[in-house]
Amino acid sequence: MTDNKAISRETLESMLKAINMGVLLVDQDCKVLFSNHFMSINSGRSAQELVGRTLFEAFPELPELWTRQKINSVFTLQNFAFTSWQQRPHLFNFESTRPISGMVRHMYQNCTFFPVQDADGGSLGVGLAISDTTDTAARQLELTHLNELLEEEKSAQALLIARLEDAQAQLLQSEKMAAIGQLAAGVAHEINNPIGFVCSNVNSLRRYLVDIFALLDAYEQASDETHAHAHPELAAMRDKADYNFMRQDIDELLTESVDGLDRVTRIVKDLREFSHVDSYEWQLADLHKGLDSTLNVIWNEIKFKAQVIKDYGDIEPIECMGSQINQVFLNLLINASHAVGADGEIIISSGREDGGVFVEITDNGHGIPLEIQNRIFEPFFTTKPVGMGSGLGLSLSYSIIVKHHGRLTVRSEPGRGSCFRAWLPLRQPLVQAHLASAVEGS
Amino acid sequence: MKVLIADDSSMSRKLVLRSLPESLTEDIRQACNGAEVMEAYHAGLVELLFLDLTMPVMDGFQTLEALKREDANVVVVVISADIQPLARQRVFELGAAAFVAKPVTAEAVLDALHLIGVL
């Protein structure tokens, strides 16, 4: 290498002064042998005040045990040692080197400990190099902080999105149901007329056929044996048409057709009664009729799932909005049918109570766990996957009953079944009824 | 003397061999692990043993234990890279006569042999 003597002590010292790093030299007992300009500026103590003292006298903030261990290990093992601002941000308690713009109060430091030999190669002591990493540290910390904030926002947003998606699905479902209701009512309305005149035509046909057959019978009676011989083609025609069978069959065909038409008429009537699009009026309604028509409407859906037992009590008509009460019954019955398993049983009972009428729908299904029993009337609360049930059913039912000044309660035992009980007063308070009609009647 | 050099590294064995004086290389064998050492011992072929500590199958410590159990009349010089103070201590407790740290030099080996009176 180059000739060491050409670089004087003064040159070295001025270099150590110029570099923006702290440089210390200590012996094995941590006594300071050398300290550079950086150390003086930042500690406020001159080199003369530092040299000759122990590190801990010069810089009381240093953790003594740890520092001695560090110095000792470098001395013994003769290798380098390091500290990083990330684990040990402020070894020396120096003020921040960004006094105006910086957000931190103390200098962040990376330190290097290194063995120093004397001219003969023997161990002289340990050197410390302290570098100011305040800038890097500040930037890093800010980034980390920003990241944390971002993460928080992200999760909050994710939560919000999930809830919005849920609500949207529920809304869609309830809109579908409303649309289906309207469709059903519309279809019913359209079918009504044609069914009407088919019905009356078939009845006329029946009457005419009675007369026609009477006439044929009379003709038969009037003709005698000679007439029959003279017109053998009549017997042949009779055979070909299978007259006896045909006559009997015509009766059966007509009876079946009338039956079929009756059924269609009933279904149409039920649909219209159920959706009751034409009436938002408070009326006196017989709840049993409402229950029956509702059952008819959903019969296809529950007939394979459960046996329905009617335990109707003695009730009188109550003042209510029939279509809405039917909605409640529909919701409760559907729920019951979903809850039951094999040997499913739904019992509908009713009776008078407390100046009003109650209807109970009891099932032997899986029941409702205790901890959610007081949540089931919450809007959007559902235990079913999206698309199956709106989560609005029970909450709507609840609010309908409440608007009727009634009560909707539940008793349930997980594993044994549930019982929903709706109680409705016989009459509504006068003022409320008028107000309600005014608002809802379009 | 019947000499045995035990070490899993052939290079190491050669180094030890090279550092021995001629008088000790007349009746000399090599082994790769402790099991081979015990075989040779039972065949009456070991009086002076140079033993490495880190060997597969049966390491140096286990070999020393085995020899001690049999009250073997073998002079053991441990030659090892494992130079921890506790390792050295244990080696002597188990009956070794000397310890030479790797990398071996001829001087170190000869010094040890002088120290224990073999040379």
Partner: protein, 203 residues
């Protein structure tokens, strides 16, 4: 990889022995500092399988470590040491090394210290035997994971690796263990091999 695979039996043996000695020195230092007994494994030298710039870590090193530190060595011998720390339980060890707090920063500092001591000793030990000089940079934490996924999978190779040496240290008394992966670049691995050849020649 090609370089390593092309080593002769004698060369491999010599390299193994060199690492053995370097490890012994590393263990002695750790033992001196902590006043305990350190267990050494036989150094395992294996060629590294490289798939599209990613290291393929041997199975027994997967799923065990959670923190990986690194430290570079520079000079005539060039590369990086990765230290994989498994279960900690290094509280006593911390005390012995002069730490008396128990926070995550202290744990990290402890691991960085251990990294520095072990890498320094192993590499210096090796360098001394092949008569070359090395210097070091500060150790740092490479990966810090809670889940036991393979942290080393995230390593991206940007230089050919000729040699990887695997060493396991255990301080049983304190349930402390770590695995060192010493990775030497292809270019400077030749220095080691030439030194080995010289040694073998002298034999």
């Amino acid at each position: 990889m090609e370089t390593l695979a092309a080593l002769t039996e004698d060369q491999r043996d010599a390299l193994q022995e060199l690492m053995n000695i370097a490890m012994g020195q590393a263990a002695e230092r750790l033992a001196l500092l902590t006043n305990t007994m350190v267990t050494l494994s036989v150094p395992f030298i294996h060629p590294l399988i490289r798939e599209q710039n990613k290291l393929s870590i041997p199975e027994h090193l997967r799923r065990r470590f959670m923190i990986v530190t690194r430290q570079s060595f520079l000079g005539e011998l060039r590369g990086e040491v990765f230290v994989c720390f498994g279960s900690m339980g290094a509280d006593k060890l911390a005390e012995l090394l002069g730490y008396n707090d128990d926070g995550p920063a202290q744990q990290e500092e402890l691991m960085l210290d251990v990294t520095n001591i072990l890498s320094g000793a192993c590499i210096s030990g090796l360098a001394r035997q092949v008569a070359i000089q090395v210097s070091y940079d500060a150790p740092s934490i490479l990966v810090h994971r809670e889940e036991p996924t393979n942290a080393l999978d995230e390593l991206n190779l940007n230089e050919h690796l000729a040699m990887v040496l695997e060493i396991r240290f255990e301080v049983q008394a304190h349930q402390f263990s770590c695995d060192l992966l010493i990775c030497i670049t292809e270019r400077t691995a030749g220095v080691v091999i030439r030194a080995i050849d010289r040694l073998l020649y002298e034999l």
